[in-house]
Amino acid sequence: MTYSDTTIWWIIAILGVGTFLIRFSFIGLIGSRPMPPWVLRHLRYTSVAILPGLVAPLVAFPAATGGSPDPARLLAAAVTVGIGYWTKGVVRAMLGGAITLFAVQYMLG
């Protein structure tokens, strides 16, 4: 890394302010003004539209195995989604996924 101390502080400051402004964008500017129904209809799908896509490459090509698909991680992801979907329990799903990951890793040595 060859940046000066000042440059690094500028990077940190701009990322800090920029990230805050991204977070503040809608809730800051729109506030209590009503949004049209079609906008609300799209916003209802924010979570399910981002998180699966964010996680998919990490599940399919985990960095810890050098990017090659890993049966333990694939199975752990499937178990997490299954438990979460059918029981609606976030904690149960996390525990089920973690236990699956460690159990399969242990069995495969």
Partner: protein, 232 residues
């Protein structure tokens, strides 16, 4: 509205965030370790963690800094990773937009993947809550997570040493996010959006600066909304 129900909403927020300590602690430590090993002094590591408060973008910035990328590339890619938070900001506005500006500013500071997703699950399950109760729940979610994020970044920076990859800690984040999203798959429209998101994120992974994920997310939201409209 009685203060006791606000207080109980705050505590429910705290409790529901507790499982995510398993995610935040190793992720924060990893950033502290990685940033220190990349050569950042501890005050800059902490500057990142306190001012940016967004792990994925901090790792992105760090990676580009290690490669001595141009400053504009660092800024653009790290901020692109955070653009999803604009969608979170929009999604919580119908629930928390009544608060005065300074409170909305403070809520924005603690708007991260975990607080957003826990809160939106809660808001949708309990539609009759007041804005004060919703705010209290949201703050409750952030109370354990944000200080732990900051504290364990410091621990990682102070320890410096490597955390062995065979512990599988890398997978804490995917499991946590999947555990959050699976209970939200309530309708065909939600499932259609999630499947679209996975397929397009994998297909568009070659696009730099994480913009493929953003495109996948926007199209997935449109698919969800369209399925909902047709089923109605």
């Amino acid at each position: 509205m009685s203060p006791s129900t606000t207080k109980s909403a705050l505590w429910r927020g705290v409790y529901s965030s507790l499982p995510f300590i398993i995610v935040v602690v190793p992720f924060a430590m990893l950033f502290g370790v990685a940033a220190t090993e990349a050569g950042l002094p501890i005050e800059q590591v902490m500057g990142f963690t306190v001012l940016v408060v967004a792990g994925a973008s901090q790792f992105t910035a760090l990676q580009f800094m290690i490669e001595n990328a141009p400053v504009l590339v660092i800024l653009a890619s790290a901020l692109a990773v955070n653009l999803r938070m604009a969608m979170y900001s929009a999604a919580i506005t119908p629930y928390l937009g009544d608060q005065p500006l300074w409170k909305r500013a403070l809520l924005s500071y603690v708007l991260v993947d975990q607080t957003y997703n826990l809160a939106i699950l809660e808001f949708e399950e309990n539609p009759n809550q007041t804005t004060a109760q919703r705010t209290a729940f949201f703050v409750g979610c952030s109370l354990p997570l944000i200080p732990l994020w900051i504290g364990f970044t410091w621990v990682g920076a102070a320890l410096g040493g490597q955390i062995p990859p065979e512990y599988g800690l890398d997978f804490a984040l995917p499991i946590a996010f999947l555990a959050m999203v699976a209970p939200a798959l309530r309708t065909v429209a939600h499932i259609a959006a999630a499947v679209t998101s996975v397929v397009l994120a994998l297909a568009l992974g070659f696009i730099p600066l994480n913009l493929g994920l953003l495109a996948a997310a926007i199209i997935a939201m449109m698919v969800g909304a369209e399925v909902e409209r047709r089923m109605a």
